[in-house]
Symmetry: D2
Subunit: 399 residues, 4 copies
């Protein structure tokens, strides 16, 4: 029985279709829904909708659910539709009339946003820590190999010389900018939705600031309609920040796939990082790098899916919003795994200094020759053309 059920049974096919995977996805969120429910119950107690005894009973029962979730013994049944029904049903079965009071002053619309935002805050915090750990690994790697020269490429062609240290720090600096962006993402997310009901407030004198403080939100999102309209909006920003991280790692992985080619051999993956072929016995494949590269596209697609889902719709909740849950939750899982693997990678990646050194061929220094002429007073463009002719001459000689 769903929260809104009165008499009509929903057609089986329609139930299955509308529930979709939601009851499964909610298993990742239910812990946060219980937390938010505790804060909500306390808010209700403050205005005497719940007595102290009722509050205590509800808090105890919600803690039980959290423990069962952690123990893996709590399940949401498909016909319950979502965690919200599962929680209210549990409370009502256990506490009778007291359980029936938990939904006073809220809607599933603000309830799910509270659970999602608590999940987001928790995981964004974790991702910031992962970025810090990755930065440490990059820093150690950069220091260790700072003097190893590396050919710089433009257009996938040798351009000018630089070093393994500089290459590594380019990614470190990108990650620092990503950290700045994540801080802004956190600022957006860190607004309490509870008390906004279905988008038009609740006819009760709820102390929304109290609820926000109880849950650790740094401010209340006051406008109830904006609470609803920010569904999808906030998620798009989260996913955008993730695409920024993932596309930097996509670049990093592309570099490493290129640099670890046997034809170049500047870097090497350790033996327990490479995979083989089912048919070709000699293969040592960088599958780990290829998947690091590939996952960026899943995140870009997820960002897009969320933005499309909420477009061309009028204000206020629509069931379409339900489909934003999956790309966002998957997005978190993907980015957390990418950051873990990247950090691990830089702890084990090997540099082949000899191969790097050997690759520092003359052409990489053509620009330096131009600047020697410039230092002698020749205008840059003339110096450039002079060296260009010399290079071409040498090339033709060879041919």
């Amino acid at each position: 029985m769903r929260l809104w059920d009165t008499t009509n049974a929903l057609h089986d096919t329609i139930l299955k279709f509308t529930v979709g995977e939601d009851y499964l996805l909610d298993m990742q969120l239910i812990r946060y829904d219980c937390q938010a429910s505790i804060a909500h119950a306390r808010t209700l107690a403050k205005i005497d909708i719940l007595s102290v005894e009722e509050l205590n009973a509800i808090e105890a029962a919600l803690q039980e659910i959290i423990q069962q979730v952690e123990a893996g013994t709590f399940t949401i049944r498909p016909e319950q539709e979502d965690m919200h029904t599962a929680i209210e049903e549990y409370l009502t079965q256990k506490l009778g009339d007291t359980g029936k009071k938990i939904h006073t002053g809220r809607s599933r619309n603000d309830q799910v946003l509270a659970a999602l935002r608590l999940f987001y805050k928790d995981h964004l915090q974790h991702i910031q820590e992962q970025l810090t750990a990755l930065l440490q690994a990059l820093d150690r790697f950069a220091q260790k190999h700072s003097d190893v020269p590396l050919p710089g490429y433009t257009h996938t062609r040798k351009a000018m010389p630089y070093s393994v240290g500089q290459w590594t720090r380019a990614f470190a600096d990108a990650m620092k900018d990503n950290q700045r962006l994540l801080a802004t993402v956190m600022e957006w997310i860190d607004q309490s939705p509870l008390g906004s009901g279905a988008g038009f407030g609740v006819p009760l004198p709820l102390d929304r600031e109290f609820t926000a403080r109880e849950l650790g939100f740094s401010r209340v999102q006051w406008n109830p309609l904006y609470v609803q309209n920010s569904r999808g909006k906030f998620e798009a920003l989260i996913l955008h920040a993730f695409t920024q991280i993932a596309l930097d790692l996509n670049r990093l992985a592309s570099d490493l796939i290129f640099f670890t080619q046997p034809e170049l051999g500047f870097f090497e993956l350790p033996g327990n990082f490479v995979t083989g072929s089912s048919i070709m016995p000699h293969k040592q494949n960088p599958d780990v790098l290829e998947l690091m590269r590939a996952y960026a596209h899943r995140l870009v697609a997820a960002q897009l899916e969320v933005q499309m889902l909420v477009s061309n719709l009028i204000s206020g909740y629509h069931r379409d919003y339900q489909l934003t849950k999956k790309p966002v939750l998957e997005g978190f899982a993907v980015v957390e795994q990418l950051l873990e693997v990247s950090r691990l990678l830089f702890q084990h990646l090997r540099v082949n200094a000899a191969a790097c050194q050997q690759a520092m061929t003359d052409d990489l220094f053509a620009t330096h020759k131009v600047y020697e002429l410039v230092q002698q007073g020749i205008p840059f463009r003339d110096a450039y053309r002079q060296v260009a002719e010399a290079v071409r001459g040498k090339k033709q000689e060879k041919e």
Copy 2:
């Protein structure tokens, strides 16, 4: 132990990362992998790589796997990485040296494509049948309500009159065009990849046409590199065809959400198709239509994900391709569910003829008045302006 394992154990985190959900997704494909393996074994027997006894033993064992899959008793373990390893391991454990021969003349690269294409063909056939069933439901609905008038809207404003029958047939005609497109999709897919190995052929005289016939493919995809390069390409076309279907249903659902508004009330969903609110007791919400509308975006995102994944890469397999599996398999599931729900919808959707009739207000017939003047010989643009002024006059009177 993976097929390519020799000595190095893969780092646990890397294994987990590279396998991802693949071993789970493969449960949808393994039946087809077994079918393809039987055809491949017969091809090997034709050139005496397998004896008749070996072939029979392999066929029997593969049939066992299929039965276990259908009975729900076969599982692919994460450390097996994929169905290909699971199958070869089963055969080798059961048949010893005979099992070790099954991978002769193939690579996982052509093997997975064979399984995927057999899956695609099966399900595309099913989708064509679903479209035919939907067309029948649309036709019945159109006939039943062909005479009920309906206000035509442009710019979400009343425009000109038409009928429920014409409205319904607009979607039927779109679905007929979709069927034409699906036929072309099927033509692309219906090429046998087996025998192309890892993209560069196999040094064995395999009778590729024999294998194709055994599996019901209408032709061989001869160029081995094209076999590999069509990974993602074919999937993008499949998903595009699905977005065409889903965006037509998105339009249909948008119309119905609009037409079933109490303010208009032209159509009505039956009671067991609508859902309620957890807070507002009066609500009758068209969640089923909203999700019909929403799923189109998942398919558009899936199409995009596949096209991005395979871009900017050189020819030949990359592990990136693995990530194409999920959006495609999910795409099939989504479109099959959408078609089932749409058909059901038209079997139960109600038309409120009285509300339609009442909505046929004067403004809808303004264009007809223009044409009455045109029939009297007044040039169209003059007639248009004359009626426009009359309409404006009447409007001002009211104000």
Copy 3:
């Protein structure tokens, strides 16, 4: 003065915003709008809305516009909004009342679709011819270099041997599949929209089949609402077909950027195909290949833009549709340029057979060694492991 102007002047900023670039884009379509207008006038004459004299006058005036367009002397002014107003104004200024009759029995909604579809048909035909020309260039190139060996790569690592001929033919086969798809695209497009008005028909006995025949359409798109609903739908399919072509060329360009690296040198671009650097005098950059690779993304984005624009909207025209024009017209220009450049490329691309030969190292033949053992009766998986160990041994020796 716009066609719909009666008294209210539109606010300047709103006019500028709503017109956008439309009046410029229409310069590509106006020729087709005139053609369609001629056919429409003949249809009107058939039912005596126009007299023979009026028809002749209108045809002559429309031919004048076509000539002025070709001579570059016709312009659409921003305040005219679009070609439809420009045409009607020209006719009315020239022919008085006769000009005011041209819009009888049509709406800009079916009028613009007619012009677009005639444009599409013309250009799709051209693209098919370009594909045929590209196939000829590929075929000549494949024949010329059919015996030159080429290392096959998987995971950007050497895999197995194949040849320049096989590599080339992989792309030829892809283009043949693209031609099949384009034929289906043409089938969709080849439906006459004229006579459907604003999506709800026109209260006149127009002979829609006659109009279709006059314009060379092979059938009438009968359902007027489907005519409107196919806006965006048809364009998405066109753009999808273009992404299929462009992503194949993206793969081709990626291969060539890789193969023309000085480190490999399998292929070479002629001197007048490469570009240089403003700072590094030695550079020979494959910008042409990089842009061939890059344009695929513009087409994927265009496809997406069109699909998003028409989603979540009810049936019937919305001004949103106007924004589909630009991505589609740009899409045609992009794909036509890509095909021209690709063909030119294969007429000038050089193969460095010596470099190819030199790259045919032992590891490429490891799989062949496995098959020698298989021929001796060793089960494949055992043979595979035996060769794998040998390769590993040799590798360790070197280290």
Copy 4:
């Protein structure tokens, strides 16, 4: 002659293809390129690459270009390829050897980034001001109509009561969050790229902090490779911020299209904001709102295009990056126009208070009835079911 030209003439078709629209787009940037060139010249003078006289001559000539650009008399010719060549050619023709020195210590790679970022900073500043102006207009509108009641909708169905003031402030709050995000975007952009050359530094002791100060950048982007790798990365963030603004306006426009329907009539567009139909004389269409809704999709597609273009590529410049210019420059133009039109809209939008009041039907207050029962001590879920049954009863009575 391009900057890198030495002897080979580039094939005409290849030149046309590689230049594309770049020389036209650069007309929007050339002013900023000249500014950056002045700062660069001063930096060169500081290390005596340029004498004071040379510096003065160069500055004067660059100011001339700026004046000609503003006067509309400067053009970049297609065969010049881009503004960089046009500028250097102008300087060299005017100043001889002095002009040939301007490219000392830079590459087009850091030069174009400098011009782009100066453009971005200027326009981002303007957009922040536009947002502030929009917020003022929203605030005035909200105050003026703060007491007018408005039906709140969920699922496009009447839900609960709120007010025009609350509705308006929901968008104001969204725009405030967008302003926060834009501040972070500005922080990312506000890094000076000059002195990083082609991504690997320049063999000259350039004072990069001096250049940054001269141009008003608040810091130097020190790592040269990160400068290159941030191409596309920064642009994606800019475009993402724009999609956030545009999707909020998409929601706003969707609301207004809905609320201005004659069937509801809560809001009204003034007569000089609506457009008509070419065929239907009674139509008053909200094209302005439809285009406000539609442009969001162009921005989402632009964001996507940029992210795809730079994916799966190794570090360092590729010509693919050139294609990022157009979606970004168009993105700025779109968002600036959207903000101008939105502000104007709220200065002229009318509220029909009577229609709003009339729409405040009983069903909107069903939730309030639940809360009256809750206040009497009935548990929420019981109160909910009680009201639900009463509503259903009343509904059945009517039928």
